[in-house]
Every structure is written in structure tokens, then in C-alpha cells.
Amino acid sequence: MTESQATTSLTQHLRAFDAGAQVVAAAFLGDAPALTLADGAVLLGEPDAAKRIATHPDAAILSAVCDGETLLAGGDDGRVVALRAGGETETIAEEKGRWIDALALRGRNFAWSAGKAVRARDEAGVVKTREAPSSVRGLAFQPKGYRLAATHYNGVTLWFPKVEGAPQVLEWKGAHLDATFSPDGRFLVSSMQENALHGWRLVDARNMRMTGYPGKTRSLSWSHDGNWLATSGAEASVVWPFKDKDGPMGKAPRECGVREARVTRVAFHPRALVLAIGYADGLVLLCRLADAAEILVRRPGGGPVSALAWSGNGSRLLIGLESGEAGLLNLPG
């Protein structure tokens, strides 16, 4: 183990730059790094040539999602704005006097929530609305079919926006925050106010409790093969196995990157079982799942890491901090 535990470093390949404001989310739009900023703008492009695109002038951005082609950002001005790789923007929705709390994006399907109101827009631009039992904190599209998961107090609602009638509600006591489907669509996992995750096997709505976190889990990332779910909220990234039909039930999770600092963001590499982990002290490292070998990417400093994203081919890692500091790692070779 001593060999693999010797921390090697990629810090010389990290290019540090100033994003200019608190980073809400990181993504690659096309090939271009895109940092969504709390102060109402997206910083798009290479660090020395980035353009500040004011998607939400005079407002704060609360939520953002990106699929590589479209970046969707929601603001406290009630606006949902789509940004494309070329820098052009389109206002998708305006909820006057409301906040856009959560977003989901899949192809040309968009979804957003403002308080209890959940809206879904299909390819044709038809918007359907559903009122959740309480404010919605997380949205996710099921990988196949036009179906949306919306988290709320005491459960998650699974809604087919094009289907009339009562949606399915997966009940579990407590307040549910973020939601994510496993890439194969077999499982739905929510993070909870009570420092725990909750999962459902969708075929039979069987419950899965994933507990033991000292803090809230606000970052969830699936491995490229869909077999693992990496999570924040502890002094290591807790990685749950989802390969078997029972998911993580009865199995111990892996722990990656154990340190004396809280993990704030996680992002699995898009092609390898390597996890990028960002901590509350600003440190970022890569951890190989097979042997827990670690490589340092960013030394501590600057406060919590608030955003991490890999480029589509996995050659670059974009890092954003609450302080507005940012970094772009170019993997050598």
C-alpha cells in the first residue's frame, strides 16, 4: 500500500485563475470551460480568453445544469436561461417574483421549479405544470422517457408531464433535497436534510437507506459505468456500489480521499473509475477507486470547493471555489 499511498501531484498542470465571483457550478459547454457565477453571469471560454455572459443581470444564479450542449441557469429573478456553446442565450421561462430553486435538463427537455410549482417543457416547447406538496429542492429527468423526479418534504414525486392523472409518489419521511437517477434508470437517489441519502429501486419502489454522514450531501456523481455513486458530506467521499440488483443494500461503501476536511464536491471521470474530490479547505485530489491511490490537484486554500466538472473526454478538470478562485487542470499525455 505504501507505493500507492505516496501522493503524487498534478499541481504543476493546474492553471489557477480568478472567476471574479462565487462559483455555483462548473461545466464544459462544447469544449469550453463554463463557470456559472453567483453574481448572475457565466464565465465561458479558456481562462485567458473567457467571456462573461450576463445571463441574469442584477440577479443571483441559484441553480445550473449542463449536458455539454446547453447550460441551463436559474436565478433569483425568476428567470430560466439557456446558454449554448456559441455564447447565445435564450430565456426559457420567467417566473415573476419567484426564485428558480431547481433545474433539470435532458436533450431538449427542460424542467424547473419555483417554490412548489414544477414545470416541464418538452421538445415542442409545451410547458406542463404540477404543484408539489411542498417546495421542491431537486429535479431530475429519468434517463429514458419523458418523466421527471421532483423532491419535496416526505418524498419524491415521479411525474410524466404528458400524462394526465396522479403521479407516482415515493414516500419517505423527511425533507428531500437533490435527486439523481442511476444512468441505467434502475435507481433513484435523493439527498436529505437529515444527513442521509435515500434510494428507491424503481421496479418495486424498495427503499434503500444510506446513512452515517456527518453533514448534508449536496454533491452526487455516478461513475461512467453506472456501478458507483460518489457522494460528498463526509471527511472522505463515500462511494456506494450500485452494480447488483439490490444496489448498495447489505454492502459497505468505499471511502475515497480520507482527510480531516469535509468533502464538498465530487465528480467521476467520464471514462475511468477515477474520482475528483473537492474539500471544504480548497484542496482537490483525484482518487482511483480500485486502490484508493491519490493524486493531488490543488493545494488547500481559498475556502470550500463549490464546483467540479470534467470535460467530455476526461482530459480536463474545471474547479471553482466559493471564494471565486478557479482552476483548470490539463491532464498530461
Binding site: A38, A60, I61, L62, G115, S134, S135, Y153, K173, G174
Partner: protein, 343 residues
């Protein structure tokens, strides 16, 4: 937690009060005075009341039960969401004011600041300010348990509309307030015309400030405690009327000298677990045996927060005092239990 980090936290003032008492008047006064401060205001029934402020957020008063084994542990889910969102505008406002509906229980609001780690990192509860209608409060204390909760919970109470009552009526309503909560600072007002310094930046939940903000703390146990608790039971002495509210009381106990931490810590934990449902607030300053520093604590229902504070001064008498405000408190049990902690 270092002082500087505490100082960076956004102060949050919670405004409570029964319907029509004058919360919105007070809110508008706070916002319109030339204090140079920028407030984020969280209101209910968004859009229905005229508030002239740049940053107004509508809230739903979503009270969530926490599955943490604490039966009275509830938080305001919407407040967690709103404070998280407001942090995206960090630096663009100086303080947050949360206005609750007339029927709201202040406990879930306060508990949010104890329970949620993210809220705790970003913000600190400054004080619960309750606006009371001088003319109608006495009635509301009879027919509205919410009104009683709001008085019992308050750090600052504004007795508003004093111009609508006679001096005798005013004395009576103040005595009724004092019967429930002798520790809040009390201010008379006509059109919520109180000095804003009496309402804002109170630091009422700072352990360091527990004594400084309670002018009546030291006198609380000086009045006779008649255990014949009956509604409207009045007895006069020293020219002051004393009421005893039939279900909401305060219990304050003083113990000369030190307590034994090995006895006190289990006791305070037990009493807040066992009677936490009924205890709305508790506070205390305790002299621990062989400890040069004062131990201070405060709690909301079952949640306790305590710390060693400054050293006892040489001119200060080492004594231990605890105060509980709550509903149907088992006073004898609390009193005996605390006195048995003597070192």
C-alpha cells in the same frame, strides 16, 4: 468558533406577533430609517403587504419535522432554502429580517439556526422580537396559544398601541407579559416607534450576552412565588401587580456557590430531554467547581448550546442561576434537581 467568523455571519431578526399587532409597521419603520443598512426581508403572503425594500422574499412557513430522535425538533424548511439562496448575494445585504405570520410558532424558526449546519455557518439568530397589541394582547393570551408562545419565546417585546389603553390597562398587560416572560426586554410604543437599537443587533442568542440583555434577570425571583396558580390570580406587593398565567410560566433558580459538573451536565441534559417539549427557552450562568470561567448555556426546547465564557471577576460572587420558560413546567422537579447539583 472564532469571534471573527461569528462576526461575519449575517444577523437574523425574527419578527413575531399576533395578527394586527403591528409587525408590518415595525418592519417598514426598520426599512425606512436612515441607518444605511441593507436588509433582506423574508415575508409571508408575498405581495399582499406593501413593503418598500429591494430584497423581499416570499416564504411558505414550511415546518419540517426532523427524524433525529428529538420529538419536538422542527425546522423551517423554506428558511433553510432561502438562506442558502441569499448567500448567493453575499455582500449585497447586511442583515435578514424574517417576518412570521400571526399564527406562527417561533420555535421552528429558532431551531433552524441550531439544527442546520449550512444555516449556522452563514447566519446567526440575533433576536426574536414580538410585537404585542396593548389593547388586545390580554384577550389573545386567553384564546390564542400562539400569542402566548410568541410572548414566551421573545427576547424583545414591543407593547404597541399604548395610546389606545389607559395607564392601568397598560400596567395590567405588562404584568401579564411579565408573568409569562420576565426576561425579555420590554418597550412601550405607539406606532411601533421604538428605537431601532432596541430591536436590532441585540445578540440575544450570543452566549456572551446572556446576562447583559436581561435587565430583569436578577430580580426575577424576588417576587413571592405563590404556588396557588390560578388564572387571573393577582397579588400585589411593592405596588406591582403580579399575574400567574395558568399554563405558561417561568422558573428561575439561584444557587449560591458552585455546582458539580458531574451532576449538573447529566441533569441539564435529562431535564431538557424529558421536559423539552414544554420548555420553550432556557438560559443559565453556572459556576462550575474548580473552573475559573463562567459556564453559560441556552436552549430552545430540547436543543442546548453551552460554552465556557469569561473568567469570574474577583469582585463577582460565584453563583449559579438557571431560567426556564415553558408550558406546565414541573417546577418542583426542576428546582430540586438543580439545587441537588450543588458542589
Amino acid at each position: 468558533m472564532s469571534d471573527s467568523r461569528e462576526a461575519e455571519k449575517i444577523p437574523v431578526t425574527v419578527l413575531t406577533g399576533y395578527l394586527g399587532a403591528g409587525k408590518t409597521t415595525l418592519l417598514n419603520r426598520i426599512l425606512s430609517e436612515p441607518h444605511g443598512k441593507r436588509y433582506a426581508v423574508v415575508v409571508n403572503e408575498f405581495g399582499e403587504i406593501g413593503i418598500d425594500n429591494e430584497l423581499v422574499i416570499g416564504a411558505d412557513e414550511e415546518v419540517f419535522e426532523m427524524n433525529n430522535g428529538c420529538i419536538c425538533c422542527t425546522v423551517r424548511g423554506d428558511l433553510i432554502r432561502i438562506i442558502e439562496g441569499l448567500m448567493r448575494r453575499k455582500g449585497k445585504f447586511d442583515a435578514i429580517i424574517v417576518e412570521t405570520t400571526g399564527l406562527a410558532d417561533p420555535a421552528p424558526v429558532a431551531q433552524t439556526f441550531f439544527v442546520d449546519e449550512d444555516v449556522q455557518k452563514a447566519a446567526r439568530l440575533d433576536a426574536v422580537v414580538t410585537v404585542a397589541d396593548a389593547k388586545w394582547l390580554s384577550h389573545r393570551l386567553r384564546d390564542a396559544p400562539e400569542a402566548k408562545n410568541q410572548i414566551a419565546f421573545a427576547d424583545v417585546i414591543i407593547v404597541n398601541k399604548t395610546d389606545l389603553v389607559s395607564p392601568a390597562e397598560l400596567r395590567e398587560v405588562e404584568a401579564r407579559i411579565r408573568a409569562i416572560n420576565p426576561y425579555a426586554s420590554l418597550h412601550r410604543a405607539r406606532n411601533c416607534d421604538v428605537a431601532l437599537a432596541d430591536v436590532l443587533e441585540r445578540r440575544a442568542f450570543d452566549l456572551d450576552r446572556i446576562l447583559d440583555i436581561e435587565p430583569d434577570f436578577l430580580h426575577a425571583e424576588d417576587h413571592d412565588h405563590d404556588h396557588d396558580h390560578g388564572h387571573d390570580h393577582v397579588h400585589e406587593h411593592h405596588g406591582l401587580k403580579h399575574f400567574h398565567d395558568e399554563d405558561m410560566q417561568s422558573v428561575s433558580i439561584r444557587l449560591d456557590g458552585d455546582v458539580d459538573p458531574a451532576k449538573f451536565m447529566p441533569w441539564i441534559n435529562r431535564i431538557t430531554q424529558e421536559q423539552g417539549v414544554n420548555i420553550l427557552r432556557c438560559k443559565g450562568i453556572v459556576a462550575m467547581k474548580d473552573d475559573p470561567k463562567r459556564f453559560v448555556f441556552q436552549g430552545v426546547h430540547m436543543m442546548l448550546d453551552g460554552d465556557s465564557q469569561r473568567e469570574w471577576r474577583s469582585d463577582e460572587k460565584r453563583e449559579s442561576k438557571v431560567v426556564f420558560i415553558g408550558r406546565n413546567l414541573e417546577e418542583d422537579d426542576i428546582r430540586k434537581g438543580f439545587l441537588a447539583c450543588a458542589a
